[in-house]
């Protein structure tokens, strides 16, 4: 199987429909097919083993994705925000490659071409006779993980995995001709890949916003009559704050659906967003790079039901990531691998055709029966809604007792003076690790550390009380909204 088929089907069924808009430029599905063929021919001509992409989102990104597929080589989008030495180290790992980038000095084995030149060459044609290779288990995409815990790993996504996800979740030409999705996630993020594949198969025009800013996002959504959007939580938070400052609801009549994911959504943000976007369908999507994007969904009906309910068990589902896709199996296991029941917290395992779960040099991480350890902690309620409880790596081990940061963060966040907080392990001579909390105060508010400690002591066990509380101006996030707990731990340890 080959993901190139998705573009062939779209270009055959709707050649003149606009596929993608970036700035003043657009490509139809027919144009995109021609350009992808040209890109494949160019990659083959250069003897590339990979087609890499190092730039902000642009028309060249989807052209490179499908071009690589037709050439039978992996597409490797690289994080342009990394430092020059970090980028150089990643490039060494992808040679020989054709690299789409602007003004980067490159190691031996890499042929660099500027995005504009690449797009022009690709659109000029070529590769008309190429047939997308169908080899078993061919690799479509390699994504370097964000490396928040060490050297970035190269996650492998095979054509079969990505096609299983798209065919299982997207209706071919399911979008109306006037629909449009705004793409704000960067091309090196799994959501950036799935946005291209889903939109092409659904026939939904993509409008790229290369550099996110709340005002620019609102402007673009209004001007292009955007119907669908995906945001990481920090982006939605900034939009909510931007609207708050203007004291108004969003005036975006065409916007119908807003999906979010990629990190934990603070409850006050989603509650406020639902009030600011009253007619909009909200969907929470939970997924990992290793699972080819979304594996669980909190759908619009569940959002509305939770908001309207007085039943705490229903109401709290607004903080869940919903239920597994029909094509995904999910279980919770304890540290010894024993399967747990509803309400019992443990480690989240998933299984399904879209689950890739492998890295270069490390092989498959799935067990004998195909279960992949997400390394996320969580539990499911009686109706199968999944509640996440942080990464397994973030658990604080205090004198042999496992403490999950999430439950303490929930208590601290309930204090009106606390805008945001993060709980991490801090070195402790007696217990090995202790509990530390970094707290961002709400504007114009103040609270003593002792009051917050008393709050936690009153609601949880004494072992959960933060022994160290630091008041900070902001928490460190990466550009896709992932909280950098490592940075906070280092600040406590310093």
């Amino acid at each position: 199987m080959n993901i190139f088929m998705l573009l062939e089907m779209a270009a055959d069924a709707m050649p003149d429909r606009i596929a993608i808009t970036s700035g003043d430029e657009s490509l139809t599905y027919g144009d995109l097919l021609v350009a992808a063929r040209g890109a494949a021919a160019l990659a083959i001509e250069h003897g590339a083993s990979r087609l890499a992409y190092l730039d902000v989102n642009g028309l060249a990104a989807p052209v490179a994705l499908f071009g690589a597929a037709l050439a039978g080589i992996p597409y490797v989008p690289i994080n342009y925000r990394l430092t020059a030495p970090e980028i150089a180290a990643l490039l060494e790992r992808v040679t020989p490659a054709l690299l789409v980038c602007d003004g980067q000095s490159v190691p031996n084995g890499i042929v660099a071409i500027a995005p504009a030149a690449f797009l022009a060459r690709a659109r000029a044609g070529g590769g008309e006779d190429l047939i997308a290779p169908d080899e078993d288990r061919g690799i479509a995409v390699e994504l370097f993980t964000s490396g928040t815990t060490g050297v970035p790993k190269a996650a492998i996504l095979r054509h079969d995995n990505l096609l299983a996800y798209i065919l299982g979740t997207v209706e071919f030409m399911g979008a109306d001709e006037g629909d449009a999705a705004i793409v704000t996630v960067p091309p090196y993020h799994i959501a950036g890949i799935s946005a291209v594949l889903s939109s092409v198969y659904a026939g939904r025009r993509m409008v790229q916003l290369p550099n996110f800013d709340p005002a620019a996002w609102l402007d673009l959504v209004r001007r292009h009559g955007i119907s669908n959007a995906f945001l990481v939580p920090t982006m939605l938070q900034r939009i909510v704050e931007h609207l708050d400052a203007g004291a108004r609801v969003a005036d975006l009549p065409a916007l119908r659906a807003l999906a979010y994911g990629g990190g934990k959504m603070p409850l006050p943000v989603i509650e406020k967003a639902m009030a600011q976007f009253p007619g909009v369908d909200f969907t929470n999507a939970y997924g990992l790079t290793e699972t080819s994007s979304t594996i669980c969904l909190l759908d619009p009906e569940s959002h509305r039901a939770a908001m309207a309910s007085d039943d705490p068990a229903v109401r709290r589902r607004l903080g869940s990531v919903g239920r597994p896709l029909p094509t995904i199996e999910l279980v919770i296991r304890d540290e010894d691998g024993r399967e747990l029941g509803p309400g019992e917290a443990g480690l989240v395992f998933v299984r399904g055709d879209q689950v890739a779960g492998e890295y270069h040099g490390l092989g498959s991480q799935t067990d004998r029966d195909g279960w992949f350890p997400t390394r996320d902690r969580g539990w499911v309620d009686d109706e199968g809604y999944l509640f996440l409880d942080g990464r397994a790596d973030d658990v604080i081990v205090r004198g042999g007792e496992n403490i999950s940061p999430g439950e303490i963060e929930d208590v601290l966040s309930s204090h009106p003076a606390v805008s945001e907080c993060a709980v991490v392990a801090v070195p402790d001579a007696e217990w090995g690790e202790g509990v530390g909390a970094a707290v961002v105060l709400a504007v114009g508010q103040a609270v003593e550390a002792g009051e917050l400690q008393a709050l936690v002591r009153g609601r949880l066990r004494s072992s959960r009380v933060p022994q160290a509380i630091r008041f900070v101006d902001a928490l460190p996030y990466n550009e896709t909204g992932k909280l950098l707990r490592r940075v906070i731990r280092e600040e406590f340890a310093a």
Binding site: D134, D160, A259, T283, D299, P300
Partner: protein
């Protein structure tokens, strides 16, 4: 003629424009037909068969076709006039719950 297929194989109709890709099959030989004529592999030439008017219900691009027990599944990559059939099975369009877009 029954053949043992595997996932990923592409087949085309001998009598119309229909093309399909095998997504899932049971471990047994299948007699897959489109418009009444045996489906052809990608490089196979047609035998001059004609579309059976009784099997001209058509196939739709992007629809997945499956049997009642969902033991097999085919993706129609190009629609045509012929009906997709498998001897011994009742093949129809897979009814899947529409999911909200999450990308």
């Amino acid at each position: 003629m029954a053949t043992q297929y595997k996932a990923g194989v592409k087949l085309k109709s001998a009598v119309c424009d229909t093309q399909i890709m095998v997504l899932r099959v049971p471990a047994e030989p299948l007699d897959i037909r489109i418009g009444g004529a045996p489906a052809l592999a990608g490089d196979e030439a047609g035998t001059g068969a004609a579309l059976d008017p009784a099997l001209a219900g058509g196939s739709l691009t992007g629809k997945r076709y499956t049997d009642a027990q969902e033991t097999m599944e085919f993706l129609c990559t190009k629609g045509g006039e012929g009906t997709i059939t498998v001897a011994g099975y009742d093949i129809g369009i897979k009814q899947a719950k529409a999911l909200p877009s999450s990308d």
